[in-house]
């Protein structure tokens, strides 16, 4: 949003067409309504058509279906003459004892993920920023971002290689110390920690690279001046680097908080799957909605939960943005 305002201002201060007198300058929007503009720039509008149609179908056309959250769903009826049942779908969900569990799990896991990934990425970026040997930075970065490219399904196999009861490297290592084999896949309490570690493993490297790019943009003269004034390396990192990359960190964190009510289905389902023993600590709203839709086959219930999720999510983003605005004005989204 900010960008377009800037452009407008620039355009206003510096009208390019002035020099070539009367005739309408190239590169400046013409006058008239949408139809006139479409006639003038028909080709441009034609070029957006596929994207516009796609967005209409998979974006805007999905909105009317939100109405079924207030209906008893029937595949044979259409949205408008469905059977209206008011808030029943919401009541059913909110009154089930499970609603609290999955909402709490979603929030809890996402908070763990955001916190741990941000801290780990910052530490890594600060460490990499101290290294002056170029090839070493490049090589270690290349290795650290590798997990980013993997799908969670592949990661679940690697996890299995570590935690598998019979052959996993962890149990084999424990056995070397005389500890009996543990079946990790039935221990619900340890999974939030395992999931957090996997999340950090998969995402911290990439975030560190992003932070490092922000650090590279910091004016070197600041560090030189600080060094002349006798600041230690730690002081320079803490007093110069940290405050200057705070906005970048704030933006990334805020974007993550914006999705805090959305569980990572791809991750949770790939790593936990249908292992019900682990549900008490790991089942999130999105995996529940998936089951409501695909296993139980109740789109109305699934839509209602989705709506509930968006509503709470919206409140949380709004609050997070307010807080950010207060502490890091540059980091706020709107």
């Amino acid at each position: 949003m900010k960008k377009t305002d800037d452009e407008k201002r620039r355009g206003g201060q510096n009208p390019r067409g002035k020099r070539n007198g009367g005739h309408a300058p190239e590169g400046k929007p013409g006058k008239g309504g949408l139809v006139a503009d479409m006639r003038r720039n028909g080709a441009s509008y034609l070029l957006t058509l596929p994207a516009a149609v796609y967005t209409f179908v998979f974006g805007y056309l999905t909105y009317p279906y939100l109405l079924i959250a207030f209906q008893r769903f029937n595949y044979r009826r259409n949205i408008l003459n469905g059977e209206w049942i008011g808030m029943k779908n919401f009541e059913f969900f909110i009154n089930s004892s499970y609603a609290f569990t999955i909402t709490w799990n979603t929030l809890k896991l996402n908070m763990f993920f955001i916190g741990a990934t941000t801290v780990a990425a910052l530490v890594l970026a600060l460490a990499l920023n101290e290294v002056r040997v170029k090839w070493f930075v490049k090589a270690s970065q290349a290795m650290m971002v590798f997990p980013t490219y993997l799908s969670w399904v592949v990661v679940s196999y690697m996890l299995y290689g570590i935690f598998s009861m019979d052959y996993g490297i962890l149990n084999r290592t424990l056995a070397a110390f005389g500890v009996p084999a543990v079946n990790w896949y039935i221990k619900a309490d340890v999974w939030p920690a395992i999931l957090t570690v996997m999340r950090v493993w998969k995402g911290a490297g990439l975030n560190a690279v992003i932070f490092l790019a922000a650090m590279a943009a910091i004016d070197v003269s600041l560090y030189e001046a600080a060094e002349i004034d006798g600041a230690s390396r730690a002081q320079r990192a803490w007093r110069i680097t940290m405050p200057l990359i705070a906005p970048t960190v704030a933006i990334l964190t805020l974007m993550a908080i914006g999705r805090i009510m959305y569980g990572d289905f791809g991750m949770i389902y790939a790593l936990i799957g249908d292992n019900g023993v682990l549900f008490p600590t790991t089942d999130v709203i999105d995996t529940y909605v998936y089951r409501a839709l695909r296993k139980i086959g109740d789109p109305a219930e699934a839509t209602a939960i989705g709506l509930f999720q968006s509503a709470i999510g919206f409140v949380l983003v709004y609050g997070a943005n307010k807080l950010t605005k207060r502490f890091f004005p540059e980091g706020a989204i709107y």
Partner: protein, 291 residues
């Protein structure tokens, strides 16, 4: 700023190297296990230094008619078709949004932006897909969700806005149409960002199993990622994989075979690694630091 490395530097390098090694170690372990003889796994568990190597797992998953081979084909077709169309859609729309002569490009951008912020959720999306007949066919793997992404649109648009308008002007004075200008001037000049977006789309398609789990029940259409997910949960399928040709009486080398399937799934990513490093990361950095 030359100074002699001290103990702190040593610790720093050690820490970074250790983290870097940890990031790739699980992949190395999976690869080693996939080449390990099944008896060695059963005896020693997973390890980086197996006592006996074997190619048996790979021979099994790559024998003619295996479901892994078939899913590989599905994934390749879906990824290539999807990526080509997705990049084309994105580049064309980005050209128009970056064209300063288009008066309504602001509202047009907003039109795309709205769907990024407000999503109706899984169920409405699912019902739209079903309504369109995107169920149990190849199109169901290609069309929903992945064919166009507004984030990529804005990435390309921002890049194209950096191309001087004078190029468009002189092209139009020379009588080139907007479409001609887009295809013969703007797209060739945007190759770096288009490479980034190609990798974004390509990786998303290759790693996708969401469309499969929601919209495809037919095993013949399982993409590789989804087959892998099924393999993990359904021991039964491991037996199916053999299809009798490897000798029905033998127990399948399930552990090494699972890992071999995971490894071949990562294969293309490793092959594309230099390009991923160059274009993928730069795109993400630009998107999040400046966007």
């Amino acid at each position: 700023m030359k100074r002699r490395p001290n103990g702190f530097d040593f610790l720093l390098y050690f820490f970074i190297a250790a983290v870097a090694v940890l990031c790739v170690a699980p992949m190395v372990l999976s690869t080693v296990v996939s080449f390990t003889d099944e008896d060695a796994i059963i005896h020693d568990g997973y390890g980086f230094f197996p006592r006996k190597w074997s190619l048996y797992a790979y021979r099994l998953i790559f024998h003619a008619g295996s479901s892994v081979l078939r899913s590989y084909g599905v994934s390749f077709v879906v990824t290539i078709l999807g990526t080509v169309v997705a990049v084309a859609i994105t580049a064309m729309a980005a050209y128009a949004l970056a064209n300063k002569r288009v008066r309504y490009r602001g509202p047009l951008a907003l039109y795309f932006y709205v769907t990024m912020v407000f999503t109706a959720g899984i169920a409405p999306w699912y019902l739209v897909c079903i309504r369109l007949g995107l169920k149990n066919n190849l199109a169901a793997l290609i069309v929903p969700s992945l064919l166009f992404n507004p984030f990529n649109l804005f990435l390309v648009k921002n890049f194209m806005e950096g191309i001087p308008d004078s190029l468009r002007e002189s092209a139009s004075i020379d009588g080139a149409s907007d479409i001609r200008t887009a295809f013969s001037i703007y797209f060739p000049l945007s190759v770096p960002v288009l490479a980034t977006v190609t990798l974004f789309y390509g990786l998303a398609y290759w790693n996708d199993w969401w469309n499969a789990i929601m919209l495809v029940d037919d095993r013949k259409l399982y993409p590789l990622q989804f087959l892998l997910l099924q393999l993990k949960s359904q021991i039964q399928m491991i037996r199916d994989l053999q299809l009798g040709s490897a000798g029905a009486s033998m127990t399948p080398p399930s552990e090494s075979m699972k890992m071999a399937t995971a490894v071949v799934t990562v294969g293309p990513i490793v092959l594309l690694y230099p390009w991923l490093q160059r274009y993928f990361i730069s795109g993400l950095v630009v998107g999040s630091v400046k966007g």
